[in-house]
């Protein structure tokens, strides 16, 4: 035990000797969290609209002001030339063109249907679909108004109809900060622990100082534990600071038991650090380690379900997430924080995470050789 404590002390001294790293370990996650969390939203605001109004009637202007009045659209350009409008779209200055044909007002007042054409920049498919849905919504409203105003009769009321109401639990206003903060925090903690722990070990190999440890009576597991503990603690401190700041600046709710979160996070960090050390036992240079780690990290992060919904992945990808520690922790933290899930609800996730942690660490201890 004493040996491990001494080794841990040595690791801490080494980490904090580098002035940049010792500041960045705490500073970078906090700054990035503060800047990045409020930026992210899947909501759509400000769809820049380019209008070609060939009609210029009271009705077409009515429609345009209706669009401008809605919270989603902003008319950024108006022209009569289709070429100019396409140009705007090409230059990315607007994302939708609305073409109102001449005769639009006349047709409508006489009760004849009239077509209007929306051209949407669909490179971002999700955005395009949503903008189109919003446009439809505004036009449907306007339709109703016109029917009541011009024709003077109420639109035909459906005979039978199912009314739909909806509510969002745990996050009524769908505040994206609540969703993103736990996720981004996990990513930052992963990145720091994963990179630094592994690099630390490979560095000893590359410089040759690992030989000096190898000739001492320090046992394999002692060495691995001593390499893990400092980064485990740093990770937990980062997490605690991040949550504190989340509470203060973004007013993130804490419905559940914080201890449960820290239990989950500790097991998670052991898993991640175990994998880091396992990879580092197989790498000869820091460069080699870095690229392997980078590869794993990017795969873990992109498949963790934070940027794109887990529900929309194909089945094999969902199976892969059974061994993805990042996916587990993001889920656990979010559920504990926002929904107040308890250990009964999360037992399976925590157990799986524990199995992963034991496996990865076991691999690392086995793979590490004191003799070359």
């Amino acid at each position: 035990m004493r040996t491990i404590l001494f080794l841990i002390r040595k690791e801490f001294l080494q980490i904090f000797r580098n002035k940049f790293i010792s500041k960045a370990i705490i500073g970078v996650p906090i700054v990035q969290m503060l800047i990045l969390v409020p930026a992210i939203t899947f909501e759509i605001r400000n769809i820049n609209l380019c209008i070609i109004d060939n009609d210029f009637s009271q009705e077409s202007r009515g429609l345009i002001s209706k669009l401008e009045g809605s919270t989603f659209f902003r008319v950024s350009f108006a022209t009569w030339s289709e070429k100019d409008a396409n140009n705007e779209l090409h230059r990315n200055r607007c994302s939708m063109i609305l073409n109102i044909p001449s005769g639009f007002g006349r047709d409508i007042t006489s009760g004849k249907p009239s077509k209007i054409l929306a051209t949407v920049d669909a490179i971002n498919a999700l955005n395009a679909q949503l903008s189109w849905a919003y446009l439809n919504g505004v036009i449907t409203d306007y339709n109703r108004e016109i029917i009541t105003d011009n024709i003077g009769s109420n639109p035909p009321v459906p005979l039978r109809m199912v009314d739909v109401t909806n509510r969002y639990w745990y996050n009524e206003s769908l505040n994206y900060n609540y969703y993103m903060l736990p996720g981004i925090l996990v990513i930052l903690v992963t990145a720091i622990g994963f990179l630094l722990a592994g690099l630390n070990m490979v560095r000893e190999k590359e410089i040759g100082t690992i030989e000096q440890i190898n000739v001492t009576p320090v046992r394999k597991h002692q060495f691995i534990i001593a390499k893990m503990v400092p980064f485990l603690l740093i990770g937990l401190v980062d997490l605690a600071l991040g949550l504190l700041i989340g509470k203060i600046t973004f007013n993130i709710p804490f419905e559940g038991n914080i201890l449960l979160m820290f239990l989950g996070s500790s097991i998670f960090l052991v898993a991640v650090l175990g994998l880091a050390l396992f990879i580092s036992t197989m790498s000869g240079t820091q460069q080699q380690y870095m690229f392997t780690a980078f590869f794993f990290m990017i795969v873990f992060i992109l498949m963790s379900g934070i940027f794109t919904p887990f529900e929309s992945m194909p089945v094999w990808a969902q199976k892969f997430d059974l061994i993805n520690p990042v996916a587990y922790l993001i889920r656990i933290n979010r559920m504990v924080m926002l929904k107040g899930s308890t250990i009964h609800d999360l037992g399976k996730d925590i157990l799986s995470l524990l199995v992963i942690a034991i496996c990865f660490t076991g691999f690392a201890v086995r793979r590490y050789r004191k003799t070359s």
Binding site: A39, R45, T140, R160, V164, F291, T342
Partner: protein, 369 residues
């Protein structure tokens, strides 16, 4: 010149000696393009949904069947009362609960109105919105079936849509340009900064500095091999996205390659800049990976469009080079436009390259202290 070529040769040997790094260097972009192409989509395919049917009649069964069989959802259970909803959500597999009011079928027949409510788990806002929207659309369909097309016909304005550039609404039109941008800047910045700080950390930089090679030649020699490797990477990614996802280059391929070279140069000079301010490899890796990764993913418009962010992020992200390159690739590859449409972005990238090189030259010390 002969000396310089010799030096470049030495650098190449260093790189080729390490098979694994080389394999990963080309493996990362490939894997990412494939992951993004196949895994990432923004549609829902089997979201868990539970049903709380307080009426249990023919109509409610019909509606729930319609919802479950739509292909977007999988049923996770039938609930008996309101108190079970919280339990169900806390377990985490259910994303929404559909609640049919008591006497649903009778009301619909007698009063002509019946109500259903969708309670979604807001802790995942994007999934919650998608699930709610899809369910609402399905119930909307049901209403239309009930009433025939009477409502439709009364609509005078009939909007039509043309989805430009990406008529089939595939998500890789968005992700391929994003992945190229992300991977190039990370790999280039990492490689250059690490290879230069490595010489510093091991003291071999001293050997190079006392050699007859000029500092500029040393830096150029370090960067040239990586420039070539990255360029091969670009070609591989483009070929892969063409072969696997049928994503063609609509505009001029020459222009696209030239712009890619510019972006690679920019990323390499960013790497040089990072190496001049770092003393150890750890530090260089920390800056170029942890410092660049998340901002590039989140603020460059790669996944989250900048227009939807608060205004200040529009300015903030304008100091990030990836933002300009994504715009450039999208314009050339997908929109098929030429240099006239992207000259501004190109100029910004040129300016950034010069700026990074300028600062590095000023900061590069020939003598070690």
């Amino acid at each position: 010149m002969k000396r310089f070529i010799g030096f470049v040769k030495k650098e190449f040997l260093h790189i080729f000696r390490d098979y694994r790094t080389l394999a990963i260097l080309f493996g990362i972009p490939m894997a990412q393009i494939l992951i993004f192409g196949f895994v990432v989509s923004t549609d829902i395919s089997n979201a868990g949904i539970a049903i709380l049917d307080l009426s249990k009649d023919e109509v409610t069964r019909k509606i729930s069947d319609k919802i479950i069989s739509s292909g977007f959802f999988k049923k996770t259970g039938d609930l008996l009362n309101y108190n079970e909803i919280d339990r169900e959500f806390k377990r985490g597999n259910t994303k929404a609960v559909i609640v049919f009011e008591k006497d649903f079928g009778n009301r619909l027949v007698k009063e002509g109105r019946a109500s259903v409510s969708i309670i979604a788990d807001g802790s995942e806002p994007n999934v919650a919105t998608l699930v709610t929207n899809y369910t609402m659309a399905i119930i909307g369909d049901f209403n239309r079936e009930l009433n025939g097309s009477a409502i439709e016909k009364s609509m005078l304005i009939r909007p039509e849509v043309k989805m430009l550039y990406n008529p089939e609404l595939k998500s890789h039109y968005m992700f391929v340009p994003g992945v190229i941008t992300l991977i190039l800047i990370l790999i280039c910045a990492l490689m250059t900064s690490v290879t230069i700080t490595r010489e510093k950390e091991f003291g071999t930089m001293e050997v190079l500095l006392v050699s007859p090679l000029r500092p500029l030649q040393i830096i150029l020699g370090k960067v040239t091999p990586y420039f070539l490797l990255s360029f091969i990477n670009v070609l591989l990614i483009l070929a892969l996205s063409y072969l696997v996802f049928k994503l063609p280059v609509k505009g001029s391929i020459i222009l696209l390659l030239l712009e890619s070279m510019l972006y690679i140069l920019m990323s390499l000079s960013l790497g040089i800049l990072i190496s001049t301010i770092s003393t150890t490899m750890q530090q260089a890796i920390f800056i170029s990976l942890i410092g660049l990764m998340l901002p590039t993913i989140l603020l460059s418009g790669f996944i989250f469009p900048i227009e939807n962010m608060p205004k200040i992020y529009d300015y903030l992200s304008s100091i990030l080079p990836p933002r300009y390159f994504i715009e450039i690739i999208k314009s050339i590859m997908i929109k098929g436009t030429g240099i006239l449409f992207i000259w501004k972005e190109t100029l910004v990238l040129i300016f950034m390259t010069l700026l990074f090189i300028g600062i590095s030259v000023r900061k590069f010390r020939v003598r070690l202290d």
